[in-house]
Symmetry: C2
């Protein structure tokens, strides 16, 4: 797990840890219409001050509890950028990330004051096949290539494979905007921007910690995720085998899954629940129990029909092969400011080997999953997420100094 | 001031009000990697549960402390919609707003579970001249018309005047997305959607309560705002004179101000500070004091030059006429997902009379304000914000039942 530290919490010697709640205190002050006394405000640890360390054996932003906001930005390397260029680029971006995640301005930060609220900021880098080839064609792992085509995909190259991914997550949208801008400016001399995909979840403080997210279709989404910090998670997510430079890294599949909310609206609740195989109210399987209960795929109803239909998403996504599992850390998107509304899920999954772990699941869903009627993948890309770096190092140094 | 209530706080008899802070408690749990015990989570009042009453003599969302996220959506009435149609529309939307702001599903809510986190949701309605004319041509206040043209504007009709504005604000982006979708669906039978403008500020819990916002240029933005709850605020913002249906209402000017961050980047800090007349670090006037100190427009430096230049934004926006003041409640925008990045400020100002209060300020800025080099208004619209409604009533009933 990431160590998560409140700077003010440290200053206070952690004394605030067991105490009450900022939400109630603020609500009280607003209710009374009383101004905020500076000393009172200073006594409240702020989520905006929370930092997640950038340095460490693994990159942050994977097992870090998902922050409220994410921006995935992708770049293609300039034609003339060689291994030395990639080295300079990754040194620069790692330095920016280390500073910004501490709540400090980037070097030559044009708006240093906007850097003062880290709000749990993480910056996570992923390498596309193009970048690894540029450095060392023999270092590209076998799975680092475009996913096979799926029948129900309708991929737009606009959201396609790129050389470098920068995933920026924080609980504050201003923090994300500032970090994206600073990192983008420093990448400019080496790259062409390819795309940005912005997403969101519930705000920090909106729901009890550990609540499984809901997507914009209203479904509880991500119930079967392996739990960070367990041996199961480590085995599924963090790479042990393969090219040595990737030991302690992982693989990221990022798919842009558009949701057809207008036709989804035509379904009533029982139909929506049958499509998934879970109850909308709490995400529990239609065969009973709580959200985390095992799905009983053999259960039948009074008429002898399967409770979980053949076409149900939950049946199609399951497997008896314990290796065919992934860790999902997705974000909703909802773009309305440029005309036609466009909404869906930035499906981000981490797994040690996307071909071995993700592809079989997606094949079963592609073959027969009624949900395909209402969702379409319009973007797809795969990235190798290198291990983290030590202070003084940079992400990718295991590849570039190898 | 709005009364701001935490449902869980009420259940707890307000006992949590004086207590510590959720940020520290959560950080502690994450640091320890411990799972969240349900009873522990239940004891924490959540900001997501906070509600702001929809009903009351004034609409919420004006003097309500600005939430983190806003979506301004605009609609034009269908050609055949008469006063009775407007009445039905506003009854429907007011009912949706009353329910959603309580954290309850809208009637026929297709994703009722997404309504469970109000997170301080407010829904504020504004009427364009077209809507008021449709009901009663004699009821249009003189100021409810497009602003005069300003030389530095480059208005795109895409962000122009519309018949109905729905301003949705909450601390949670999922809450905003859900409310916008539900309200938009219920408006569909009566209107054509015109535009959506989405914006953000610092997240709840990112900064001490009452901190003046910064825009994406890094400037402290909104220092001279009148303070909600004061007689000065009431006089400047809430209408006393004019058509009786607007008593207790206000006027909204919404301008989309694009920021040219690439050329702004070419300025060093002293130049940026001279353009505004305030220090970037804390928003204090260049003539000294703290953020809220009076600007000394007469001060000169050692060479005899004005410390606050003739072209400085702070000089141009000031006046000796105490009536020429407005209340700003703006939001940043930063759109990157559709190609060319586009960033700026959704300038939202409330004033009893935009022509008397806003226009003279903007004229002075238009004539001579160096900031015009880096910002351009690309959208502009004016709306009459009716008073609030009682339970059983609806926003606009003072016009429609008059």
């Amino acid at each position: 797990m990431d160590r998560t530290v409140s700077r003010r919490g440290l200053l206070l010697g952690g004394a605030a840890a067991g105490a009450g709640a900022v939400g109630g205190a603020l609500a009280h002050r607003w209710a009374a219409g009383a101004p905020t006394a500076p000393q009172e405000a200073a006594a409240l640890p702020l989520n905006g001050e929370r930092t997640v360390p950038f340095h460490g054996p693994r990159q942050a932003g994977v097992e870090t509890p998902p922050q409220a906001h994410a921006a995935f930005t992708a770049f293609d390397l300039g034609r003339d950028v060689d291994a030395e260029g990639v080295r300079r680029l990754m040194r620069l971006l790692s330095d920016d990330a280390a500073r910004l995640t501490r709540g400090e301005p980037a070097l030559a930060d044009t708006e240093p004051e906007l850097a003062a609220v880290p709000a749990g900021l993480t910056v996570t880098f992923g390498f596309g096949p193009g970048l690894v080839e540029r450095v060392d064609p023999d270092a590209v792992p076998g799975w680092l290539r475009p996913l096979p085509e799926f029948d129900h995909d309708d991929l737009d190259p606009r959201w396609g494979q790129a050389d470098l991914l920068v995933q920026v997550c924080a609980d504050d949208p201003v923090t994300v905007a500032h970090a994206v801008r600073m990192l983008g400016k420093d990448a400019r001399a080496f790259t062409e921007p390819r795309w940005t995909q912005s997403g969101f979840r519930r705000a920090h403080g909106s729901e009890a910690d550990g609540t499984t997210m809901r997507n914009l279709m209203g479904q509880v989404d991500g119930t079967v995720n392996p739990r960070p910090g367990t041996a199961d998670f480590d085995h599924l997510v963090w790479r042990e085998a393969g090219p040595p430079w990737l030991a302690g890294g992982t693989g990221l599949v990022l798919r842009r899954i558009e949701t057809h909310l207008d036709t989804w609206d035509e379904l009533d609740r029982p139909a929506r629940e049958a499509v998934i195989g879970r109850r909308l109210a709490d995400g529990a399987p239609l065969t009973g129990g709580g959200e985390h209960a095992e799905v009983d795929l053999a259960a039948t109803d009074a008429t002898g029909l399967s409770v979980i239909a053949d076409f149900a998403h939950v049946r199609r996504s399951r497997t008896d092969d314990p290796e065919e599992r992934i860790f999902r850390r997705g974000y909703n998107y909802d773009l309305r400011d440029h005309g036609t509304p466009e909404a869906g899920l930035l499906f981000a999954s981490y797994q040690a080997d996307p071909v071995r772990q993700f592809v079989p699941i997606q094949r079963r869903l592609d073959e027969l999953d009624l949900l395909n009627e209402w969702v379409t993948a319009v973007g797809s890309a795969v990235f190798a997420v290198p291990p983290g770096c030590a202070e003084g190092g940079y992400v990718g140094d295991t590849l570039l100094e190898g």
